[in-house]
Structures are given as structure tokens and as C-alpha cells.
Symmetry: C2
Subunit: 189 residues, 2 copies
């Protein structure tokens, strides 16, 4: 998606050879006009799939998933991190290791909001090692639901997440794949 790639080049800030910060438009401050274009693009890409629900994970996936969901006319369900008495214990859980934070978090989705009849599009902002998506797939499998596709805004192509999921047979579509960060410059794959 050229608009997104140009935005990353124009505004993203690289840190070393493996981090690109996009919190000026994607995951802290959010450019909602860009999100609408991202949502339409996901709809175009996954148009042929039978999708009745979009799944994401808090926090930065939620805005992207909600905006995209408008174009699919389906609800969003987001996995919550940690325990919360308002969720109850009627939940599917999975552990997710975050390389960013260096901790393992338990994510959960209420059994009321995912079931065997669901055909799910997973959406998230970033994919590096793919641990968050694997956690969501774990929950989808527990629920007996079907993964119809995985839509990622920015994939770090030099980390293993995307390819490991593709090799498992999942349809992973990333709107921008970063091949490398060379001398502070983002190179797309």
C-alpha cells in the first residue's frame, strides 16, 4: 500500500537496525484518515473471504480493527490483556510473550463472543515475531472457530512471524513489509 509506505518513509523514526517507530500516526497518535484507507484496503484484499468477525488485541489494534470493521459490516472482538474482574472466568486464554516489553502476558476472550460458527479476520498493527497473532489463533482454535485471514499493517519481514504463519497455511496480508533498516532508512520488501 503506497500511501502507507510513503507515510512510514516520511514520518517513521528508525531506532537501530530493527525498530521503526510509527507512534506519530499509527499506535499512539492515530491518523484516522489513513486508518480509513487501511480499512478499505483490507476490505479489498479479503473481499472474497467469508468473514463475520474481526479479532484483534488491545491496545493499538483496536482502532484499526474498528475502522476496518465498518467496511466489512461486522463486529470487532478484542483480546484483553491480564485479569479483570469485569470479564469473569468464562474466557479462553493464551500466553503471549512480548519482545518489546520482555514479559509474558495472558490474553483472554470471553467464550460468549467467539464460537465455532465464527469466520475470523485477525487484524493487528505490527507483526514481528508473530507471538500476538499466535495467541489469537490459539484462542480461535480453542473456540473451534475458523481463521479466514490475517491482516497486518506493518510486517517486519526480517523477523520470523509472517513467514512462520504462511508456512502453516494461513493467509497473511501485510500492507507494508519492511525488508530491512539500513543506515536508518527503511527498505520495503
Amino acid at each position: 500500500m503506497e500511501l502507507l509506505k510513503q507515510k512510514i518513509l516520511d514520518e517513521g523514526k528508525t531506532v537501530g537496525s530493527d525498530v521503526v517507530k510509527v507512534d506519530m500516526f499509527l499506535n499512539h497518535q492515530i491518523d484516522v484518515d489513513l486508518l480509513c484507507e487501511i480499512g478499505k484496503e483490507f476490505r479489498r484484499i479479503f473481499d472474497s473471504e467469508k468473514i463475520n468477525k474481526i479479532l484483534t488485541i488491545e491496545a493499538s489494534g483496536i482502532g484499526i480493527a474498528c475502522i476496518a470493521a465498518q467496511y466489512f459490516s461486522v463486529p470487532v472482538v478484542f483480546a484483553k490483556k491480564g485479569a479483570n474482574r469485569n470479564v469473569g472466568d468464562n474466557i479462553y486464554k493464551a500466553d503471549v510473550y512480548s519482545f518489546t516489553k520482555g514479559v509474558t502476558t495472558t490474553i483472554g476472550i470471553s467464550k460468549d463472543y467467539i464460537g465455532k460458527d465464527d469466520h475470523i479476520l485477525i487484524i493487528d498493527d505490527f507483526m514481528a515475531n508473530g507471538k500476538a497473532v499466535h495467541g489469537l489463533i490459539n484462542i480461535i482454535n480453542q473456540a473451534g472457530a475458523t481463521v479466514e485471514g490475517i491482516g497486518i499493517v506493518i510486517e517486519k519481514g526480517f523477523q520470523s512471524g509472517g513467514d512462520s504463519l504462511r508456512s502453516m497455511g494461513y493467509r497473511v496480508e501485510s500492507l507494508a513489509v519492511i525488508k530491512s533498516i539500513d543506515d536508518g532508512k527503511v527498505v520495503f520488501g
Copy 2:
């Protein structure tokens, strides 16, 4: 907002005399069609205000804020909870006590994304004691920005948050105000 009130009556689940769970359509599973109507209603209510940014707090405020922001044509900034090395220390911080979780969380917003020229609409899903909104106002004050209004989807009118903010002169607009929960039934104010 009648559509919202009817949704709360039809689908919300009360727990005791002070909790109504709406995680089937607002803060775990999200009815995006309803969110669009909520976003339009906030736009209608705050139409005369000069707003250039919507501020919210992770996680459940993000979807509402992003959908609403489309109708204002402004970006969203969401306060992050806890520390995260990707945010850096160039941030405004405030402590927020959560009665739901029984813990104090430090929320933060990068100094890059809020400043003295900003005219801000705060949006959140729920208001009870108003601690989250007070935390956001604290940060807005640190940044020298202006609070133009506070838009809440569901206010617990029997708790003090809304009235304490109104008595401080803030414009608080809640789309549904719950006056009480009597014998498991929600009564609106």
C-alpha cells in the same frame, strides 16, 4: 441517545446495584454500527466547539474515539498505561486509580502529540468516579492545551465523576446516564 439506552436495556447485564456489563457491544465485543451512531452523536453535540484532537485512554476508549474522530476529521491520541520502552521518557504522566481493578496505573502521553495549541475533546466509554478523565485533564494541563469538552458513552450518575467535573466548569456530555440499578433493572436519569 435512545438507540444506546435501548441497547443497554436489551443487552446489558447488571451485577448487583452498581455494575452494568456492556461488553457484548461496547468494550469487549464492539458493535461498530452502534459506534458509528455514537460518533455522529458526539459530532452533533460538540459541533460548535473548536476541536482539533480527540484524546482517550487505552483500551476500550480507542475504538469509540477513532470512529468518532472520522466525523470530526481530527486525529486521536490515546494515553498509554504503564511503562513501555517504545514510548520513551519524553512523556506527560498522571496516576489513575481504577476501582474496577483496585490498582493505581500511571498513564502517559508523549509530549510530541499534545501541546498548547491543542483544543481537545476527551472521549471515553464509561464514567463512574471519573478518575481516568481527571488523569487526562492533568496531562492536558501539563501540556498547556485546552479541554473543549468531555464525551462519555455511559455515565454512572449515582457516582460522583460527572458532577464533580461539571462543578469544575467542564462540559460533560454523556449519551446515557444511569441513575440507578433497581432490582437488576437499569434506570436512566
